[in-house]
Symmetry: C2
Subunit: 345 residues, 2 copies
């Protein structure tokens, strides 16, 4: 058992993502006001994304004996919904950048950005209806239920992520953090794609429960890596403003660790920083938080935790894919585990 990447996942990731991109384009709202609706809704989907969600869905479908085409409506809807979430996340997080360009609300204003996010979310939730003819009403009904269940977790996680900042919570632990990202990130990024792939690929016969454990660890590794990249990533590749999470006071694993590590005057200063108005936070102070994170080993802690979680993900993969025969698709999913913690962007 190893989590070191033996396989370069990028070509297959690109291939799966391109398939889903075509499907996503078909769902995109294209009629209506060019300047106020069509341009804003096309903006994020046209910026290059990684395509992790549709790729996991399509590959798992193939690994479980299905053909990717059967999972395409779901994969396209997943990627579109991801774009919708990104737009509203960026509004809610007051982010400046996304995928190397200005955040949508910086380009079009908050009002049109919120509306564009709605447009993409509504179009995405309409996507699974194309399953009814292809998969039959019973299996399509289960796909609908999966989307609904996921959405409820995601908005709850997002609500908690926002609420912790609004209430300036300083008493959080890494366990709180993992509980948060389970809902905020893992359900829609990994658990749902895996469950849909297995459900459709097996024509409804696979046990989907083990996908929760595997998807949780896989998605947690992804999210922790994301937290680290926000601090140390190459801005050109990572595509978001550096230290944006720190400025926003986002309760990342690194900040949660730092909150448990600081004492005395440092603790007081950090609480003061996090209690200040976001707009009032100086660049120097943001840098100082970053320095504290370095000095207290918070970034190293997060890196070690991501690697540990990736190990656990590999064990959970072996359970979830136990009866699944060797195939390129199965190898791809396995190779996504080290990719999550090693990816440069």
């Amino acid at each position: 058992m190893t989590t070191t990447s033996a396989v370069d996942v990028t070509p297959a990731l690109r291939r799966y993502a391109d398939l889903a991109d075509d499907e996503m384009q078909r769902l995109l709202p294209v009629d209506g006001s060019l300047e106020y609706l069509v341009a804003p809704v096309r903006d994020y989907p046209e910026r290059p994304g990684k395509g992790i969600r549709p790729a996991l869905c399509l590959a798992t479908c193939e690994a479980f004996g299905g053909v990717a085409a059967d999972a395409l409506p779901s994969a396209g809807a997943l990627e579109l919904l991801h774009n919708a979430f990104l737009i509203h996340d960026d509004v809610e997080d007051h982010s400046d950048m996304r995928r190397g360009g200005p955040a949508l609300h910086r380009r079009y204003g908050m009002e049109l950005a919120v509306n564009a996010g709605d447009a993409l979310a509504l179009a995405a939730m309409g996507g699974p209806r194309h399953n009814v003819g292809r998969l039959g009403p019973r299996l399509a009904g289960r796909v609908f239920d999966e989307f609904d269940f996921m959405a409820r977790h995601t908005v709850d996680g997002q609500a908690t992520d926002i609420g912790w900042r609004l209430d300036n919570r300083l008493d959080l632990t890494p366990v709180d953090y993992l509980h948060l990202i389970m809902r905020k990130t893992c359900w829609y990024t990994t658990i749902l794609p895996l469950r849909l792939g297995a459900l459709i690929g097996s024509a409804g016969t696979a046990d989907l429960d083990p996908m929760i454990d595997f998807g949780f660890h896989l998605g947690a590794a992804f999210q922790i890596r994301d937290d680290i990249l926000n601090l140390t990533g190459d801005t050109g590749r990572y595509g978001k403003e550096p230290l944006g999470d720190v400025r926003e006071g986002k309760r990342t694993l690194i900040l949660v660790h730092l909150l448990t590590a600081v004492e005395g005057a440092e603790q007081e200063w950090l609480a003061g920083f996090l209690g200040s108005q976001r707009e009032a936070r100086a660049a120097d102070d943001v840098e100082k938080v970053f320095e504290l994170m370095r000095r207290h080993g918070s970034i190293a802690f997060a890196g070690a935790m991501a690697r540990g979680i990736a190990h656990a993900a590999r064990e959970a993969f072996d359970v979830a894919f136990a009866g699944v025969p060797e195939s390129a698709a199965r190898r791809f999913v396995a190779a996504m585990i080290p990719y999550m913690v090693e990816r440069p962007s």
Copy 2:
């Protein structure tokens, strides 16, 4: 043919709305963070609404020979989606009040309000999946398509409504306005409810095309009345901040009329007011716009137009419901026409 209300629609409206409310409650997200998710998503649905959308859907279903229960999943989803739209509309319009209380973002902050709107929209779009078992995959598929089609119109209308303000458009005519509200308001408020009711009530045999004409006129009468109530309504009953549309520079029919009516110094002053930052608009100036609207007959113009459109709605109703036998449900839908222009809130 008359548009004077002979029937008091309120008892039946309440009865239909209560039915849909139970269904809506079943769709509401109730698991998760009480303070950050559950309380915000419950807030608007618990404030008393009129229930126009579900009532039109359920009554039309009955009028076309169906039972209300068959249209309930659709009616509940419609009302939930309406609540989702209200939350984001209020954020996008920077509104202060809704249904007699503070707008959701004034109570919970913009971030949690945007997320709560997402939660309701996603839950609403999951609602129609409950039709598959009840209506069969073919009819349920048509309902899905109707929801998807409506959503695309609504976000486009909303985008244009926002964009006109962002670009401070001063060259608009009543025709532009009608084209806008067709998309922004009529599709989800009247056209879709009527089409779904006829579709489900007739088990897929009714011609839905005439519902576009009827729904457009019915919804336009509703929206113009809404524009007027924002200016002249009893705040206690209307439930929004008085003159909120004026302060926001919303291109209501009344403002569009005024823009065509003013000349010289008044025209310049009005253009200056609408070109100023929203936060910089003084209460006195808002009052002055209102006085201009009075003096130039803009409010009277809108009232006359609403009544004319209600007459056209009655003619369109006679076409759309031509083959539909007399019934309490049919009479209720007809009585909704004068209600739209006479309602006090």
